[in-house]
């Protein structure tokens, strides 16, 4: 019985919502386009954030500190050094390896040309080395300096400071995008709230009559809720199409990477659907909140 009742009220509310969207067509279009514009920006911000995070991770994978070990170091000393390095907070002990002279020789020998050279230069002296992976690439300089200070470490080499700068720049971009997304979401909510406020203003007489004849606030609010939801969802359509086709186009256009092979973009299929989902949810939820907020002040007293 109660379910049937809710069903009837829902059906009527949805009908009312669509009626209102069409009746106030220009206003609806205005809020849909505003929502679309902000959601496009949200989409761009999400795509950028996603890519920046992925690129940062890639760079972190390849950035290592190579610590060359004194040739006269004993096995015990190397072992002690290993513990020392692995105990450093920023060192990823699981990925960090110790390559002995023979290891290095072996891996170099895989290349036939180098193998030849090595055979000719019999007295060519290779140094053994720790290849240290760090947890946070931002602190790589500090960690490298610490390792350099350890006993029996002859030299330390690590990624170019340019890469380092790139990563911190990416950090800034990522944070800026997050702030932008939040700001844009608020703007969208505000726009939808305002549209609905205007449509409500012309309907406040109607709302007042509904209240007078005993319609509950929930039932009065429901069509507005649906209206906001629908406006938000419609506003998300163009941004979603742009995300799906636009990003794939951009990806193909630049060949999946930016400037160098090091900066690899996220594949479209890994990112566009989740981004679209986020846009639908943001559009719908924000629309609902905006409209409920707009109608609330007419339901007092």
């Amino acid at each position: 019985m109660f379910k049937m009742r809710m069903l009837r009220i829902c059906r009527k509310s949805i009908k009312d919502a669509f009626k209102s969207i069409f009746r106030n067509f220009s206003l609806s279009m205005a809020s849909i386009s505003c929502t679309a514009v902000t959601l496009i920006l949200v989409a761009v911000a999400i795509l950028v954030t996603y890519n920046v995070r992925s690129i940062t991770n890639d760079i972190e994978e390849v950035l290592t500190i190579v610590a060359l070990v004194d040739q006269n170091a004993t096995e015990e000393e190397v072992e002690a050094l290993k513990t020392q390095i692995n105990d450093l907070e920023n060192v990823d002990a699981e990925k960090t390896t110790y390559d002995t002279t023979t290891d290095i020789k072996e891996s170099l020998s895989k290349d036939d040309d180098i193998k030849e050279i090595l055979e000719i230069l019999d007295d060519f002296k290779l140094e053994s080395a720790f290849v240290v992976h760090v947890k946070d690439v931002r602190d790589i300089t500090d960690t490298a300096m610490e390792i350099e200070g350890f006993d029996k470490v002859s030299r330390v080499k690590y990624g170019e400071s340019l890469v380092n700068k790139l990563v911190s720049m990416f950090d800034i971009i990522k944070n800026a995008c997050i702030v932008a997304v939040i700001a844009l979401i608020l703007v969208t909510a505000f726009l939808i709230a305002n549209t609905i406020k205007i449509t409500i203003f012309s309907r406040r007489q109607e709302i007042n009559i509904m209240r007078l004849v005993g319609t509950s606030n929930t039932v009065i609010k429901f069509p507005f809720l649906i209206e906001g939801f629908v406006l938000g969802i419609i506003g998300a359509i163009i941004p979603i199409l742009l995300t799906i086709y636009g990003y794939a186009f951009f990806y193909d256009f630049v060949g999946g990477k930016l400037f160098t092979d090091l900066v690899v973009l996220v594949k479209p299929e890994e990112i566009i659907y989740i981004t679209s989902l986020v846009l639908v949810i943001v559009g719908g939820v924000v629309g609902m909140f905006g409209s409920v907020n707009a109608v609330r002040r007419y339901l007092k007293i």
Partner: protein, 233 residues
């Protein structure tokens, strides 16, 4: 306790206007009561307190065991479903036709279509407007619109009907017809009717209980059958 009880009710509007002062009034079930008084004497304010369009600043208002003055905003609809209200300006929804206007409250309560239909037709019959069922408000005369408003007020068969100058904008002949409809509803449905008016003609003819307000104070409360002579409205 009586069906309706106002105890030491004071109403001061936000702008400082004192509309009601120390009003005490009790009305029993099935009564037909006129509220009369000059313009600005507080008649509308008194009726608004009953259906909680306004809240008293002091005192309490009871309608059929509901403490209206303490009713939460979100629960006001529960009270309104038990009260039918008839307005001077009808307050019909312009985009709905006669049938839809009367059906609207019941629809919004989630009632079944068949049940709604039955009730709407019954209400229309009571007010004598069956032939205009598909007309829109702007295609109706004032008297006809008022009948629609009354039909909407009685469609859920409320025990209390509140009318605020229902004949205010109507000519004497139509006013009389509207009063006959209300009188019939009062007798047949056993609904309590409270009607604010300053139409002395009607009050004198109907011979019902008359409560007279002056500057927000009840100055007289004459039982059924009284004749109002010195009403300076």
């Amino acid at each position: 306790m009586e069906f309706i009880e106002l105890k030491n009710v004071f109403k001061v509007y936000k702008n400082g206007v004192s509309a009601l002062a120390d009003v005490n009034l009790s009305i029993s079930k099935g009564e037909f009561v006129f509220i009369i008084g000059q313009s600005g004497s507080g008649k509308s304010t008194l009726t608004k307190l009953l259906y909680r369009e306004e809240k008293p600043n002091r005192g309490s208002v009871f309608v059929g065991n509901i403490n209206v003055s303490k009713l939460k905003n979100g629960n006001v609809y529960k009270l309104r479903r038990k009260i039918g209200v008839v307005f001077q300006d009808f307050k019909l929804l312009p985009k709905l036709n006669v049938y839809e206007n009367i059906a609207y409250p019941l629809e919004s309560y989630g009632m079944k279509d068949s049940e709604i239909r039955e009730k709407v037709l019954k209400a229309l019959e009571r007010v004598g407007l069956k032939e205009k069922i598909r007309s829109y408000p702007n295609q109706l005369s004032g008297g006809e619109q008022q009948r629609v408003c009354i039909a909407r007020a009685i469609v859920n068969e409320p025990k209390l009907i509140i009318c605020d100058e229902p004949t205010g904008d109507l000519d004497p002949k139509i006013s009389k017809e509207i009063m006959d409809v209300l009188d019939k509803i009062n007798r047949e449905m056993d609904s309590t009717i409270i009607m604010a008016t300053h139409d002395r003609e009607i009050v004198n003819r109907m011979k019902k209980r008359v409560v007279c307000l002056h500057e927000g104070v009840i100055v007289s409360d004459k039982k059924k059958g009284s004749y109002v002579q010195n009403e300076n409205a």
